[in-house]
């Protein structure tokens, strides 16, 4: 299936065969529309909008009024086809353009598409070729406008888009959790020249300055000095050089530091100051290094002057000079630190190379209004960030020569901050950053790999009668295992690596191969069974004294939480012993659907309702492991209400509200919640937040500070984590917090 097109463009010719099957690169072309292309000096970025048809598990309530027998399940599960919007972004070397255009032409079915939006310096050069091949009219868009639009888009939709680069730290990439409120910021785009743009709102930006000393200067001057043609090679030379052989340092003039001004001896006093002589030869490496320092320092200095003048602290760097090159990210970071004394941090973007294409696409898709939706990175379809550092492992180098993909799914709901976050700007959902914590990373990667067989088994079991389930499950296994391997080498590939991102990646991969809800049947079975015990549990609780009752309710809440298929220790027990029981779990004490929600959560909220508390029950919008989904919960609540007048009345009086949280993850990012939930929370004046379960209260939000009372509870169902937290497996976290008055 490998395409081979010996396209010879310009001075160098290489083997231009595409190493991946192109249908795995240009995916979903059949439904593609709204093309955009950004052609830079060496890389082309293609963007298109497409729809993906995939299976979703739907639950539907039976009509129970007719007859009710014990054997009937509570609700039926059906797998339906659903169409969702997906954005595809593909990056490849300019040399592949013709081959790629041919492939697209052959597979493009949608004839409504008439126009392709184009941006970037090369758009002009390839205009005729594109028009000829694709029969689409090339419509040029302003480069800077596209860049800013793209930048806004990724910052808003990808929480770990921005990172700080630290060459010598344990993890080179330190991701910043960006929040929906991204303005104002400064974008320093280092292409052949430098543009400094102040962005104040979605459509409000201004080029406040720039410099002609940029990537083109490094490349052009570097090529003259070293007779090295390629930009990458120049950077490689630079990474091996000693600039002190070429630059005049403060100590070369002073013999030491210039103490009274606080200028250390190693500072560069005059770039290339030592090369003003004909008696000496200078090595290519040293000159390249000196040039790199000169240009990086100069840009850093200007950036700081502009940041200071406009009082901005968020400064993002982009452009081909930066584009994932550790060498330039390091020198720019160094320069910014020097000139601002640490007051401003240099920030870089994971999808920096895509900004122009994303922006051009957005310009063309304005009538679909993509900005009114929230989008999420699809980990299954995206290549992730890779380091192109020459000194890093060769696997990454090889990959950089091929294709890079980014896919974004349109989320059904708009996501916003939980209004009760004490400080939204400093909120970080994840408890442990596995990018930084090496031990934890190794453990969890191992853990997820170990659990993979079980997940595959479960996926097949959930679709026994479906076609090619085994084959698809096997593909899922390969894909997810590959992702885990990638993350082992490049933990930073998808932003901060966390237990949450590992879980989410698994969900994305399962969805990719049409396993939308492998646990639907188990959940169904559990729910059915639990429902039978509901009244019995409620009754036994009612008989207890107040104090005993509270204690039992909390124990019940935690006991239910034990049945979590995400935890390997538990799933091992459950797989081997299907006759599990609630009493057994409770004794072991050692959020999910079934037992957890019906026998744990409902008795608990019932008690709250009886004492007059209004309850908003928030649950996942989409399936994740055996966590109850909002649609399941709707049915369950109806059924419980039919049995229990307390719940019935509460629903009728709107004292119990069921709201979805916008998430399809076993974890919870409180900065990306369904807007409706946020509105309900605000309108009802919520003054207590209870977060239950390991995923939502331990892996995430363990340290979350809320502006109201909060209760985080979970059973630690993982011995390694328990040990880390200073306890034993099946220990309990019950964390009640009251916000400090000062921040109140």
């Amino acid at each position: 299936m490998a395409l081979s097109g010996g396209v010879d463009r310009g001075s160098h010719s290489m083997d231009k065969s595409i190493t991946l099957p192109p249908d795995e690169i240009f995916r979903n072309l059949e439904n593609a529309k709204r093309f955009a292309i950004d052609i830079g000096g060496s890389l082309t970025k293609l963007a298109y909008y497409s729809t993906v048809q995939h299976k979703v598990a739907k639950v539907r309530s039976f009509d129970h009024s007719a007859k009710e027998t014990d054997g009937d399940p509570l609700y039926e599960i059906s797998v339906q086809e659903e169409i969702t919007a997906r954005l595809h972004f593909i990056k490849f070397e300019n040399a592949y353009i013709e081959t790629c255009l041919d492939f697209i032409k052959d597979h493009l079915v949608n004839t409504e598409t008439k126009v392709i939006k184009a941006t970037g310096g090369g758009a002009h050069k390839f205009k005729d070729l594109i028009e000829k091949k694709l029969k689409l009219k090339v419509d040029k868009e302003d480069e800077m406008t596209c860049l800013i639009k793209g930048c806004n888009f990724v910052l808003k939709n990808i929480p770990h888009e921005a990172f700080v680069y630290a060459k010598h730290a344990d993890s080179e990439f330190r991701f910043q959790h960006t929040h929906p409120d991204i303005f104002p910021y400064l974008l320093i785009n280092i292409g052949s020249g430098v543009s400094i743009v102040k962005v104040e709102a979605e459509d409000k930006f201004e080029r406040i300055g720039g410099s002609s000393i940029g990537g083109g200067t490094f490349w052009g001057l570097g090529a003259l000095l070293t007779k090295t043609k390629r930009f990458d090679e120049l950077l490689q030379l630079a990474s091996k050089g000693q600039h002190t052989n070429v630059d005049m340092l403060v100590k070369d003039i002073y013999g030491g530091a210039y103490g009274s001004l606080g200028l250390t001896g190693d500072l560069i006093a005059s770039s290339f100051g030592k090369s003003a002589t004909t008696d000496k030869e200078f090595s290519k490496e040293d000159m390249a290094k000196s040039l790199l320092h000169m240009i990086s320092n100069d840009i850093g200095q200007l950036a700081c002057l502009y940041a200071k003048l406009h009082n901005l602290t968020r400064v993002y760097f982009g452009g081909f000079f930066i584009r994932g090159h550790p060498v330039t990210m390091h020198t720019i970071t160094y320069s910014i630190n020097f000139f601002t004394k640490g007051e401003v941090q240099a920030l870089f973007l994971r999808h920096e190379g895509y900004l122009g294409a994303i922006g051009a696409f957005l310009k063309g898709a304005e009538e679909d209004n993509p900005n009114q939706y929230s989008w999420g990175e699809n980990y299954a379809g995206s290549s992730g960030l890779m380091s192109v550092s020459p000194e890093l492992n060769p696997v990454q180098r090889a990959r950089s020569g091929t294709f890079d993909m980014l896919e974004m799914d349109r989320l059904e709901r708009q996501l916003v901050n939980l209004p009760l976050l004490q400080d939204p700007t400093s909120y970080i959902p994840d408890t442990v950053d596995l990018t930084e914590d090496v031990l934890a990373r190794e453990y969890w990667l191992y853990c997820f790999e170990e659990a993979l067989d079980g997940v595959v088994k479960r996926a097949i079991a959930s679709q026994k009668d479906q076609p090619k389930a085994v084959e698809r499950a096997e593909k899922f296994r390969q894909k997810y295992r590959h992702k885990l391997q990638t993350l082992r080498h490049q933990p930073f590939a998808y932003g901060s690596l966390t237990v949450r991102s590992l879980l989410d990646t698994r969900e994305h991969c399962l969805n990719e191969f049409n396993f939308p809800d492998p646990y639907s049947k188990i959940k169904q079975k559990e729910n059915d069974m639990a429902l039978k015990y509901y009244l019995k549990v409620v009754k036994s609780v009612e008989e207890l004294s107040w104090e005993q009752r509270q204690f039992t309710l909390v124990k019940g809440l935690l006991a239910g939480n034990v049945f979590d298929w995400g935890a390997k220790a538990v799933s091992d027990v459950l797989e081997s012993d299907p006759e599990f029981g609630f009493e057994q779990a409770k004794q072991q004490l050692q959020d999910n659907s079934g037992i957890d929600i019906i026998l744990g959560v409902f008795p608990f909220i019932r008690e709250l309702l009886i004492r007059g508390t209004e309850v908003v029950l928030a649950s996942n919008s989409g399936p994740a492991l055996n966590d109850v989904t909002n649609s399941e919960l709707q049915i369950l609540t109806e059924r419980i209400a039919a049995m229990d007048p307390v719940i019935h009345t509460a629903l009728k009086e709107d004292r119990l509200a069921l709201v979805q949280n916008g998430s399809s993850s076993p974890c919870l990012d409180l900065s990306r919640l369904d807007k409706v939930l946020a509105t309900v929370v605000r309108e009802r004046g919520t003054d207590l937040v209870i977060i239950e379960g390991m995923g939502r209260a331990i892996h995430t939000n363990y340290y979350a500070m809320l502006s109201c009372e909060s209760l985080k509870l979970a059973v630690i169902k993982n011995s390694w984590l328990a040990e880390r937290l200073g306890g034993k497996i099946f220990s309990v976290v019950f964390k009640y917090e009251v916000p400090s008055k000062a921040q109140g």
């Binding site: 001075s11 000096g41 310096g121 302003d142 800077m144 406008t145 292409g191 052949s192 020249g193 543009s195 080029r207 300055g209 410099s211 002609s212 000393i213 940029g214 083109g216 200067t217 490349w219 052009g220 001057l221 090529a223 003259l224 000095l225 043609k229 070429v246 630059d247 005049m248 403060v250 003039i253 002073y254 013999g255 030491g256 210039y258 009274s260 001004l261 500072l267 560069i268 006093a269 005059s270 770039s271 290339f272 100051g273 030592k274 090369s275 003003a276 002589t277 004909t278 200078f282 000159m287 000169m294 320092n297 100069d298 200095q301 200007l302 002057l305 502009y306 200071k308 003048l309 000139f339």
Partner: protein, 436 residues
């Protein structure tokens, strides 16, 4: 006024060895009574403590003697040892009496003769005759101030010459500033038995500049600017007087660049600096064109066309980039055309030299302008030897300041470009003996 020091002065050990010379110049100036700006002031000074005890009377007698000779012994030098060039100012007394001439030691005479009868020294030393300040009266003496420069690379030769001419026997104070004052201090001591009085280069720069501006350039103003800087046809150099000096942004372009905000003669701060300076221009030019000297590099630059090397806005956008109000003729990427192999192969050395000059100059202009805006200063004064015989850069800076600030900022230049540090050091010599 420390009388003890003037005793030492009479013994001939010179004031240079006394302590406390490293305190910032600005403070010394505010205390000093005999300011070099008004050389006759010293007679006004009267110490109220001089009546009284025999000890005090004795001190008065010695004081009276020193007042007569309240100036350092000749020769009077000021030296600024930079990264690339050493700048030397030398005061040649023209009012030497016959009696004095007779007393003048042979050594001193030969130095005076050597410096004033030549305009070039060795292979690389040069006296900038056109900058000579004539009939200057300093500390009661009238004479000419000479401006001499030689490469810092020849410093050791210079020190050897000092040893060979028994400079140390003259018991003069060698006031030196610039980084080399620190770097070569030990060499002066061990090779030529000379002690340097080390002075801060920025202090010296400012005091030297203010002094030269105050005495003027042989009855002409020291300062100039360009009229119609945005119009290459009608851009004319115009002398001007710096009436309201402060605040000023002082941009000193030597090997590297220092940018100072000066609020008063003794109140300034270093705002920032850049390593892209004169040294970068020459260093890159040598590598790119094989030239050897600044003069050669400038000569080539004057004949070149940078637009063959630089990518302009119009090269990218076909014209102006209207969305951002960028003119088509603005440089978008310095050396941007050199990314192309074909263009690299066809480019001339002159074009490369010109592009290097334009790149460095524009960058300095850009940083200076940002600093001026950040510091809210409208007057930007450019000095330093990078600007010597460099009208391409001075005009470009004048244009850049005017254009990018929409006429808000004015670029000013001074005739003695790179010598202010040396002048500042020279003034310190006179002051140090006066203080003593």
């Amino acid at each position: 006024m420390d009388k003890a020091k003037s005793v030492m002065d009479q013994k001939g050990s010179g004031p240079c060895c006394t302590n406390g010379m490293h305190k910032p110049l600005r403070r010394q100036l505010s205390n000093g009574s005999c300011s070099p700006f008004s050389p006759t002031d010293d007679d006004h000074h009267h110490d109220p403590q001089t009546n009284g005890s025999p000890a005090k009377r004795c001190r008065l007698r010695r004081r009276m003697e020193s007042v007569r000779k309240n100036r350092p012994p000749f020769p009077w030098f000021g030296m600024d040892i930079g990264g690339t060039l050493v700048k030397l100012v030398y005061f040649e007394p023209k009012d030497i009496t016959a009696e004095e001439e007779q007393e003048e030691v042979e050594n001193l005479k030969s130095i005076r003769w050597y410096l004033t009868s030549n305009t070039a020294y060795g292979k690389t030393g040069v006296r900038d005759v056109h900058l000579e300040l004539r009939n200057l009266t300093i500390c009661g003496r009238t004479g000419n101030l000479h401006f001499i420069r030689f490469p810092t690379a020849a410093m050791h030769k210079f020190i050897q010459m000092g040893r060979d001419k028994h400079f140390s026997s003259l018991h003069t104070t060698l006031c030196a500033t610039g980084g080399g004052a620190y770097k070569f201090e030990n060499d002066f001591r061990t090779m030529a038995d000379l002690e340097l009085l080390k002075l801060d280069e920025l202090d010296c720069l400012i005091q030297g500049l203010l002094y030269i501006d105050s005495v003027g350039f042989n009855d002409h103003p020291e300062c100039y600017f360009f009229e119609n800087p945005s119009d290459t046809q009608n851009c004319i150099k115009k002398p001007c007087c710096l009436d309201n000096l402060f605040p000023m942004l002082l941009v000193n372009i030597g090997s590297g660049v220092s940018i100072l905000a000066v609020y008063a003669k003794d109140d300034y701060k270093r705002v920032t600096g850049t390593s892209l300076g004169g040294g970068t221009f020459l260093g890159l030019c040598c590598l790119l064109t094989g030239c050897e000297t600044f003069e050669e590099a400038l000569e080539m630059a004057s004949k070149g066309d940078s637009t063959n090397v630089d990518k302009l806005v119009k090269d990218i956008y076909g014209g102006d980039y209207q969305r951002f109000g960028l003119q088509g003729s603005a440089v978008a990427s310095s050396f941007g055309h050199m990314m192309s192999k074909e263009k690299r192969e066809s480019i001339s050395k002159e074009d490369l030299a010109r592009a290097t000059l334009v790149t460095i100059t524009n960058n300095i202009g850009s940083i200076a302008r940002m600093c001026a805006v950040n510091e809210k200063i409208e007057r930007v004064v450019f000095v330093g030897n990078f600007l010597r015989i460099n009208t391409v850069s001075t005009k470009l800076l004048a244009y850049a300041m005017d254009f990018w600030s929409k006429g808000q900022l004015r670029a000013l230049f001074l005739e003695h470009e790179g010598y202010f540090g040396a002048v500042g050091a020279f003034l310190e010599l006179l002051k140090s003996s006066d203080d003593a």
